[in-house]
């Protein structure tokens, strides 16, 4: 592997050393300086059109577009000099002259880069006295609405559809100040990855129909998580308002999803806001299932498990931690899971990134931990076994399949209809309400965190399982999911050496995972 040549320069007085070929804008990031910009995005080819990133380079006659200019030895770059600030102020003024200035009704408000930079470096007023250009809003199809009057023509959306999605549905129409983003009539943004243009749009020109008028950016609570909707394991931010999930957006991870997530994943968060929850532990008494307290319920479950062979029907949405603890409950028995399937939908411009066929977060983890993937979920249930239903809703399975179980313990967020004969119900948090790790299809272990509070008396699944294991005599003392993971790592060689600290929020591959390389590098130059 050839030695990369390093280039040394100074940016705002700070010495910077970067690999030859790096742009000034990327080099500035390493010095902790974010040069304001719009059209540049590290996941897209360089355009250099917004002219916002112009910086002063000593001894150069003109300001340089830092997103499109590579570093040179000994360069002295001024990002905050009068000339640079003046140029950016000029761009901001020009971007606003035809802008409707409708922040009060614009969804982007609070997370708008036009707002941000104008507050930071723009004018307080506008000198524009002429009539403003007007074009009506357009439905682009899929999840996307286009509001041309707010558009700054950065062309990120066009470049995404062209160079990453490989489906050039969007284009620039007209010329000069009449230009706007267009799509051909009859063609829609129904590409499985099209909604990424909404994230990419720095302003409120491209909006999500799903999110329209639902919440203000500053009302949202945000947590880092992993998309649960397929085995790719795209890194996401879960956003909630008043304890309801209202949006999921991608988080960059160069080893998993680059900067993107698919529309199916992004828009499929409502199931985590499920109603009809079991909110209290339940134990079967003389009159059927009745609400109980945790101690009693755990004890009842422990009695039911005592000495019996266990069959676990688990959900592949459960975390590594919970699945690991479930295997310890098996007591010589076995476990299985089933997973819904759909069409694979790759994002052609990024290596090894697709909406995967298997639509659950932890299929790989479940298999690694000893669960059998099957289409017949209860096929392995033996006569007289204790059936532990963990996280599964048993949709499509009727009570007759459950009949041969000796006893049924439900550990889940809902009580499945087919599990009506359950003797104990232990209510747990769903995926968005607890913390844990999942393993994606390439064997990468990634952490997800709690986005919202679970209702009633429900508890995290790993906590409940830990208590249950304690009640049947296994030594456990878990106060944190990281402790469960530590035990998993020490007992399973695939997970050896991993910890929550080392996983961080980018994750790490299992010891025996096939090797992968990072996705396409930062900012490929246009043509």
């Amino acid at each position: 592997m050839a030695e990369k040549k390093m280039v040394n320069l100074t940016i705002e007085g700070r010495p910077v050393s970067v690999v030859e070929g790096t742009t000034i804008l990327e080099a500035a990031k390493t010095a902790g300086i974010l040069i304001p910009h719009y059209c540049y995005h590290p996941g897209l080819p360089i355009a250099g059109v917004c002219r916002m990133c112009l910086v002063e380079v000593e001894k150069a006659p003109k300001l340089a577009p830092s997103c499109a200019t590579t570093v040179a030895e000994g360069q002295v770059v001024r990002v905050y000099s009068d000339k640079s600030l003046d140029a950016r102020k000029g761009v901001l003024e020009m971007l606003l002259i035809n802008h409707p200035l409708d922040c009060p009704i614009c969804d982007q408000s609070g997370e708008c880069e036009l707002q941000d930079y104008t507050y930071q470096e723009g004018r307080e007023d506008s000198r524009y006295r002429e009539p403003k250009r007007f074009n009506p809003a357009e439905d682009f199809g899929g999840d996307v609405i286009y509001v041309p009057n707010r558009c700054i023509l950065c062309t990120r959306c066009v470049r995404f559809m062209d160079d990453v999605a490989h489906e050039p549905t969007l284009n620039v129409s007209e010329r000069g100040d009449r230009a706007l983003i267009g799509k051909f009539e009859g063609k829609d943004l129904t590409h499985p990855w099209a909604a990424n243009v909404v994230d990419l749009c720095p302003v409120g020109a491209l909006l999500s129909k799903d999110f329209l008028n639902k919440a203000r950016a500053w009302e949202l609570d945000r947590t880092a998580s992993i998309c649960p909707n397929c085995t790719q394991g795209c890194n996401v931010i879960m956003e909630t308002r008043e304890n309801q999930l209202v949006r999921m957006r991608p988080r960059p991870n160069e080893n998993v999803n680059a900067f993107f997530m698919c529309d199916w994943g992004r828009l499929n968060y409502r199931w985590m806001n499920e109603k009809n929850r079991v909110e209290h532990p339940m134990v079967r008494g003389k009159n059927g299932l009745a609400a109980s307290d945790w101690e009693a319920a755990i004890s009842a479950a422990a009695r039911a498990l005592n000495g019996k062979k266990v069959f676990v029907a688990a959900s592949p949405m459960l975390s590594n931690e919970s699945l690991y603890l479930l295997t310890q409950l098996m007591q010589g028995g076995s476990g299985a899971f089933r997973v819904t399937e759909g069409e694979e939908a790759p994002l052609p411009g990024v290596e090894d990134l697709a909406l995967r066929r298997e639509r659950a977060a932890n299929v790989y983890g479940a298999e690694k931990l000893g669960f059998n993937k099957t289409k017949d979920l209860l096929g392995g249930l033996g006569l007289g076994d204790v059936l532990v239903i963990a996280g599964e809703d048993l949709a499509g399975i009727d009570a007759s399949s459950v009949a041969r179980a000796g006893d049924v313990i439900v550990i889940g967020s809902i009580l499945p209809e087919a599990a009506g004969k359950a003797s104990v119900v232990l209510p747990i948090a769903n995926y968005s309400e607890e913390e844990g790790t999942v393993t994606n299809l390439r064997g990468r272990v990634q952490r997800f965190t709690q986005a919202k509070q679970a209702p009633g008396e429900t508890r995290p699944s790993w906590l409940v399982l830990g208590d249950l294991l304690g009640a049947i005599g296994k030594q456990t003392n878990f106060f944190l999911p990281s402790e469960v993971f530590a035990q998993l790592a020490s007992s399973n060689s695939s997970f050896a050496g991993l910890s929550y600290d080392s996983l961080g929020f980018k994750g790490l591959p299992l010891v025996d995972a096939p090797p992968t390389s990072p996705k396409a590098p930062i900012a490929v130059a246009a043509r």
Partner: protein, 167 residues
């Protein structure tokens, strides 16, 4: 699934073949043929309707969105219907200082429509355009893409007569 017109791609027919011949003049993976192809299609059909754009896109193995994006960039490609004849008067500076505005007004008066519009009988579309590169013979009027030179307001009726009489 689209709304307007035929969704059958134009895999056969004169336009398709002519476009393949144009493509052969340029390097294999290039899209250079789009401009001459659009020009050709426009000559045949008068203007570039969504159907025509679809046909051109099929012949070029690209998308109608792409063709529309190209067509909307260039002044000589029409995405709206035009009349039988196209009259384009240059109003840029060199012609403006020798009376181009009067020529435009004379056309508007004779044709009964404003610049940018088509006469009621559909015979003539009048447009004002930018410098046509004939400044030494101002005022230049391009009639169906061929230049008339030294046009003055009083010469306009004769031009209109020529275009509107006959077929």
């Amino acid at each position: 699934m689209t709304g307007v017109g035929s969704t059958e791609p134009a895999k056969s027919g004169a336009l398709y073949d002519e476009i393949q011949a144009i493509r052969a003049l340029y390097p294999e993976d290039s899209e250079s043929a789009v401009l001459p192809a659009l020009r050709l299609a426009q000559r045949e059909h008068g203007w570039l309707s969504p159907d025509v754009l679809r046909d051109v896109a099929d012949a070029l193995e690209t998308t109608p969105a792409y063709c529309k994006s190209i067509a909307s960039f260039y002044d000589q490609l029409h995405l709206a219907p035009i009349g039988e004849h196209l009259v384009e008067v240059c109003t840029n500076v060199s012609c403006a200082v020798v009376g181009a505005q009067q020529v435009v007004e004379a056309f508007e008066s004779e044709l009964g429509c404003r610049a940018g519009e088509t006469s009621e009988d559909g015979k003539v579309t009048l447009r004002t355009v930018e410098c046509l590169g004939g400044c030494g013979w101002a005022t230049i009027v391009a009639v169906d893409h061929h230049y008339r030179t030294h046009v003055k307001a009083d010469g306009v009726p004769a031009i209109v007569e020529e275009l509107t009489s006959g077929a």
